[in-house]
């Protein structure tokens, strides 16, 4: 390969050939006061955190060889390395050494590819050495050098032995020094033989940057190789050895091992499963030893046990923190607790599944994790000493990570980010290194940042390049632009209907009676694609963000707000550019014809849903009121037709928080009221989306951006159907209750029939559970899929067209629609190139999922804040029954919680009947708990062994204690394993206190001003086009997912709209309040002065 490359390098034209070998920019590109560092691949792979964070490391040369190896290893690391190379302040350069005449080398006989690359790196370093020797430093650079040297010597005198202090320049100080950085001892030695200076990364930092000792914390420890270089220190290994790459490959080929993705069971940290591609039952992995250091999402090789040892999935609930509670929490300890080591599959009546053990890791799914450090028992409180500490990740099912730090005092009590370096078989914990501090534990800003980071949501302000793409302010629509558009400003009465306080209005409607008795109905969508052109920085940013993210107390915009809330927003009484879909509809709402055109509109009024409803109900007989009534009548017909086709109405348990205007802490929760006007808007948006989908599919048969919702797998409903049968007495239909999931229409009918007059909420509950059995809706590129159907909406074709301000998919659809209207309209390769579009689609689906997860985490966070210092007893319903506990849902708060009756290693106080999914009294056999059963629970916030605050849910009624005659002193219904904030452990407050020792506190002023800034969003959150796919699952869907079924979370259903709309409401309220309060404050201040 390499050989062929070189032979094809040379060019026909002599001038071009010379250009091809243009080496790196001359040496003036380097910072003067530091040597030039050539890093090898392992440094780039493992020390990326250090390279990114350590601003003191400058003059780094990244070789093409290194880039190539990194790119082959991990796309993520590659993009980080690339980002680093574009940082001009750090003087990081790429040298295309493989294409340079003097640094290209051929692999010699007997040399492994790795050795060849190491040699290539040395050759390039050597070339740099010789090259720079011929480019002497300028006088200014020498002066700068002397200065830096003096500074360093001074610093070093205090911290490092003088012998370690090195000079920056070569011998006579005339030329710049080139240093090879490599942790490979052999490579370093070889480099020294060539006359180069070479160091390991830690040695280099100690020698050249002694004044920055904290950098050493960022250094990842050299990873123990697979080849048995692990250090045993005389102990027995805890875990079996991982096979190396070639063994795994051979084993998988021979059918000896199964390769697949490992999914950690989130309900039970002691088990996981490995999926084998699309087909085949997932392989069950039970017990920490069999899991053998695999992380969630890793690609692993599994060896199956003989069939006699296969088992069913354990029905135990084992919380990660609960398991940790049994652990000694000693960062130096390396013995597994009995429970963790046991791999006996607990008794269970589930289906027997293949069981196996992990024998090798093909690809790690490690990323950087956010969380906090645990204080050590051995340290005196407040006086932590440097050494090993345990890190608890925010993700609950992750093992604790051991890190080494020299600055524990500044890390304890903080949210920090940690990267995993490795996990050798003698160690109970994976080892990692600290990357950066986010802020104090419990601080709202910090926690918000954490959840954005954890979900990989970009929240930085828009870059200057993006802002430069914005049209000038004030923007004047040119007469030429108006001439190119259909002018609807005078001829049509357009209005918008949105949640109250909405600032980014992306849709508006009009209706007009025609002479033939039909109606002309227009949907006008903000013309975002007019302002966001393909190939610009703003387009790239929007494509990367994919969607606007709505958290409880803020909004992270996809587009800068000048566009989103001003220029594109279809505000009343101003001229706005729009993309219109105009139908002629019969009074029965049948489409006669449809037209698409770019237009200019002037909305007459921006209604809220409530105002629009009031207008319809009022006695007014003006044109707006009449129009609204016509639209409503048409929308009812559309809805009826959709329902007849089998569209589903689903539910979510989400509620919304009323936020305090000052602190934006939640004050109370409420459920949003749905009006008919919500459905009015929704129906026309759905109609617009389906109409546009048809149009763009016709124009781009193989590259249309569409959205589909696959029909659910009936097997997913099996457990639910069993549970319904067992609890049929709770419903009106009793034993005659049927639940048919064979088609969307039968499912809709079944849901409508499953009512209970005694308890109307049961129907909602059933819709929530049904939602969770579904697959998620997703964007796709029409050429890539065979089935285009949208199951939830019962639509053969669907796309997203109506919210381009907050969704990038809609921007693409706008462009495709525009290109489809005329050949002369601007087009772009991204519209017709399936590969490009597929990449965009994949990213959008990921971003949407992340946005949902982030929104849910935000709800979780606010739920915790809401229940802080509260103990609430509330009605709840049983969502699922397990061997040793139940999962309950509290509708009032949208909270889902686990109630555990006993620890995993104790016998459960109740008998579990897996067939009917009920829990029965062990002696009398009476039914105690079953699915759908109403119960009462006590909710409070507690802190567990991992110093994690969590929502503690206990069963109050039926009371197990009285039922079983257990001593009341020890509440059997309490989650014993979690409740461990005992005397010998530090409480959360201790941790908080620990970290704050050296902070100057009492900075109340800044705090409150920050709090006032917090509720900046003041926006609506629109979810009305019913195909939301927003997470309706609310607080706890994540907990409810079994690993193999992780892809669910979908949501298409109008009910969902409620939650999100409601959130918007709270925001606008909060903002209004904040304003008045701020005014009051200002007055008060003025007086005191």
């Amino acid at each position: 390969m390499l050989q062929s490359r070189t032979s094809s390098i040379a060019s026909a034209s002599a001038s071009a050939a010379a250009a091809a070998f243009r080496p790196l920019a001359a040496a003036e590109g380097f910072a003067a006061a530091a040597p030039v560092l050539v890093i090898d691949t392992n440094i780039a792979l493992h020390q990326i955190d250090l390279l990114e964070r350590a601003d003191a490391l400058v003059n780094i040369v990244v070789l093409q060889t290194v880039l190539g190896e990194v790119s082959a290893r991990s796309a993520q690391l590659y993009s980080r390395l690339r980002a680093l190379t574009s940082d001009s302040a750090r003087c990081v350069y790429v040298f295309s050494n493989e294409h340079h005449r003097k640094t290209y080398i051929e692999r010699v006989k007997g040399e492994s590819p790795n050795d060849r690359n190491d040699r290539a790196i040395r050759v390039a370093a050597k070339w740099y050495h010789d090259h720079l020797a011929s480019v002497p430093l300028t006088r200014d650079q020498l002066a700068e050098l002397q200065l830096a040297k003096a500074k360093m010597t001074k610093a070093a005198a205090a911290t490092a032995p003088a012998s370690l202090v090195r000079s920056m320049a070569d011998g006579d100080g005339k030329a710049r020094k080139v240093i090879l950085i490599s942790d490979d001892v052999a490579n370093c030695a070889a480099a020294r033989e060539d006359g180069l200076e070479a160091y390991g990364i830690a040695d280099y930092l100690a020698a050249y940057l002694p004044h920055e000792p904290k950098l050493l914390d960022l250094v990842a420890k050299p990873k123990a190789g697979a080849g048995g270089r692990e250090f045993s220190s005389g102990r027995e290994p805890i875990f079996p050895k991982h096979l190396d790459e070639s063994e795994v490959l051979a084993g998988v080929r021979a059918g000896k091992y199964v390769q697949g993705k490992f999914y950690q069971d989130v309900r039970n940290v002691l088990q996981g499963s490995v999926t084998r591609g699309e087909v085949g039952v997932p392989v069950l992995i039970s017990g920490v030893v069999d899991i053998n250091r695999a992380f969630d999402g890793d690609v692993v090789a599994v060896e199956l046990y003989p069939e006699s040892e296969w088992a069913a999935e354990s029905d135990l609930l084992v919380d990660g923190d609960a398991a940790a509670a049994n652990d000694d929490g000693d960062p130096d300890g390396d013995t597994l607790s009995l429970e963790a080591a046991s791999k006996d599959a607990a008794q269970s009546a589930g289906e027997i599944r293949p069981r196996g053990k992990v024998v090798g890791i093909v690809k790690r799914n490690w990323r950087r994790y956010c969380g906090h450090l645990l204080p050590r028992k051995s340290d005196r409180p407040g006086r932590p000493s440097p050494g090993k500490y345990l890190f608890v990740a925010n993700v609950r099912h992750l093992p604790r990570i051991r890190i080494h730090t020299t600055q524990p005092a500044s890390l304890l009590g903080k949210r920090i980010m940690v990267a995993v370096d490795g996990w050798d078989r003698y160690s109970k914990y994976p080892s990692g290194h600290y990357v950066r501090v986010l802020g104090d534990v419990g601080d709202k800003e910090t926690e918000n940042e954490l959840l954005l980071l954890e979900h990989d949501i970009s929240y930085e302000p828009f870059s200057q390049a993006v802002l430069d793409c914005l049209p000038p302010c004030p923007y004047v629509i040119s007469p030429k632009e108006i001439a190119n558009r259909v002018d609807l400003r005078e001829s049509r009465v357009v209005c918008s209907i949105d949640p109250p306080g909405c600032t980014d209005i992306d849709d508006a409607l009009h209706v007009q009676r025609l002479a033939n008795g039909n109606f002309e109905v227009g949907v006008h969508i903000a013309d975002v694609s007019h302002y966001v052109k393909p190939g610009t920085a703003i387009d790239a940013e929007a494509a990367a963000r994919g969607t606007t993210v709505y958290l409880v107390d803020r909004r992270i915009d996809m587009l800068p707000s000048y566009l989103g809330t001003d220029l594109c927003s279809l505000k009343p009484r101003v001229d706005r550019l729009a993309f219109s879909v105009v139908w002629e509809l019969t009074p029965e709402a049948e489409t006669v014809s449809v037209a698409f055109h770019k237009s200019i509109i002037r909305s007459v009024h921006a209604f809220s849903y409530g105002e629009a409803q009031a207008k319809i109900d009022s006695d007014d007989d003006d044109v707006v009121a009449r129009n609204l009534r016509d639209l409503l009548a048409l929308s009812r017909k559309l809805l009826a037709r959709r329902k007849a086709a089998g569209a589903l109405t689903l539910s979510s348990p989400a509620v919304h928080f009323e936020l305090d205007s000052e602190t934006s802490d939640p004050l109370s929760t409420s459920i949003y009221e749905l009006r008919e006007t919500n459905s009015l808007v929704e129906e026309f948006m759905l109609l617009a989306n389906t109409t546009v989908a048809k149009q763009i599919l016709g124009a781009f048969p193989s590259s249309a951006m569409l959205r589909r919702h696959p029909a659910p797998n009936p097997e997913r409903f099996e457990a639910l159907i069993t549970a319904i049968r067992a609890s049929s007495h709770l419903f009106d239909a009793g034993d005659e209750l049927t639940f048919d999931v064979s088609s969307n229409r039968s499912l809709a009918t079944s849901l409508d029939a499953a009512t209970s007059t005694a308890n109307p909420y049961l129907n909602t509950l059933l819709r929530i559970l049904t939602t969770r059995c579904m697959q998620p809706a997703a964007y796709f590129c029409s050429g890539n899929e065979d089935s285009y159907e949208h199951f939830g909406l019962a639509a053969p074709l669907y796309t997203h067209f109506t919210s381009p301000i907050r969704r990038y998919s809609d921007v693409i659809v706008h462009r495709q629609l525009y290109a489809s209207l005329s050949k002369t309209h601007e087009s772009h390769p991204s519209l017709v190139n399936r590969n490009l579009l597929s990449a965009i689609v994949d990213n959008l689906n990921l971003r949407h999922r992340n946005a949902q997860f982030a929104a849910r985490s935000s709800v979780d966070l606010h739920t915790l804040i809401f229940f802080k210092d509260k103990v609430v007893v509330e009605d709840a319903y049983v969502l699922a029954t397990k061997l040793n506990g139940i999962v309950v849902l509290v509708p009032k708060f949208g909270v889902q919680g686990h109630v555990t009756f006993s620890r995993a290693d104790e016998p459960s106080p109740l008998d579990y009947d897996a067939k009917t999914q009920t829990l029965r009294h062990p002696e009398t056999g009476d039914l105690v708990l079953a699915m759908f059963q109403p119960v009462r629970v006590r909710i409070s916030v507690k802190t567990n062994a991992n110093l994690r605050r969590y929502l503690n849910v206990e069963l109050v009624e039926p009371s197990l204690a009285s039922l079983l005659g257990v001593d009341n002193d020890e509440p059997a219904a309490g989650p014993a394993p979690m409740d461990v904030a005992g005397s010998d452990k530090y409480s959360l407050d201790d941790v908080l206190a620990l970290g704050r020792d050296d902070d100057d506190d009492g900075d109340e002023a800044t705090k409150s001003s920050e709090a006032a800034k917090a509720p900046t969003s003041g926006s609506k959150r629109r979810v009305r086009d019913a195909d939301l796919s927003q997470n309706k699952g609310g607080a706890a869907v994540a907990d409810d997912e079994t690993p193999a079924k992780r892809a669910k979370l979908m949501h298409d259903g109008e009910a969902l709209a409620a939650a999100s709309l409601a959130a918007a409401k709270s925001k606008s309220k909060a903002k209004a309040k904040a304003k008045t309060k701020a005014k009051a404050k200002a007055k008060g201040k003025g007086k005191s002065k």
Partner: protein, 247 residues
């Protein structure tokens, strides 16, 4: 989704070229003694031989045109030309299409009216395929026709250009062609007047990209022309030297 970087941020392509650079072009003429003219062209790792027979009497009288020569072409790939051995592709649709393109390209350029009732056969065989096969085939055929002494209006030089990940790149190799995913444009040009005799695009492309690709490919073709002219001159000198005309 990890995608290959076809043009690195440093501005180098996978094989080290810049976007507007050609691969190394090498040519030889007069390889075979049986054919009236023959040539061998290497564009990077794409290797092509061409042989020309004629003008000679038509094989079948029914083919004969009373006022000009008939041009026929046959394009084929060696079974070993690609990574996976393939059955000879002489008769397949794709090869037949290229054969037709060769005829359409050369018929107007050859002064066929000088040779009524005769035929000229062009055979092109790809020995190693690494992208730009058709362009290399056309260039080789031009040299072979010149070697055969067939009067031409001008050289015909061909070059390809493609649009990959937003960049316009010249002379795609196999990797860029097959996994780049962008449209590719093939163009054959009569360099003296810069007239185009063939333009072929394998995908829909926006008009502005089309214009950019055409001008890029024309620049490439002009460079190829320089190399071919030099080659022909050198060959002519050698021939002359061997005949003793020039000392």
């Amino acid at each position: 989704m990890s995608r290959r970087e076809f043009v690195s941020p440093e501005g180098l392509r996978l094989d080290g070229r810049r976007p507007d650079e050609l691969r190394k072009l090498q040519a030889r003429m007069d390889l075979f003694s049986r054919a009236d003219g023959s040539a061998y062209v290497e564009m990077g790792n794409t290797k092509v031989v061409a042989a020309v027979y004629g003008p000679r009497e038509v094989r079948r009288a029914s083919m004969a045109k009373h006022d000009r020569a008939v041009v026929r072409a046959e394009f084929g790939m060696a079974t070993f030309a690609t990574g996976e051995r393939k059955k000879s592709s002489k008769g397949d649709k794709r090869s037949a299409e290229v054969s037709q393109m060769l005829v359409a390209t050369f018929e107007p350029v050859i002064l066929t009216e000088l040779f009524p009732r005769s035929q000229i056969d062009i055979f092109v065989h790809v020995l190693q395929a690494d992208g730009g096969n058709v362009a290399a085939a056309i260039n080789a055929a031009t040299l072979a026709l010149i070697d055969a002494g067939i009067p031409l209006k001008d050289f015909v030089v061909a070059c390809s250009a493609g649009h990959i990940d937003g960049a316009n790149v010249l002379d795609l190799n196999y990797l860029e062609d097959s996994s780049g995913g962008g449209p590719e444009l093939l163009l054959a040009m009569l360099p003296t007047e810069a007239t185009l005799s063939l333009v072929k695009i394998n995908d829909r492309i926006p008009l502005d990209v089309y214009d950019a690709l055409v001008s890029l490919a024309m620049k490439g073709a002009a460079l190829i022309h320089e190399v071919l002219v030099a080659k022909v001159k050198e060959h002519a000198h050698q021939q002359a030297a061997s005949l003793g005309t020039i000392v």
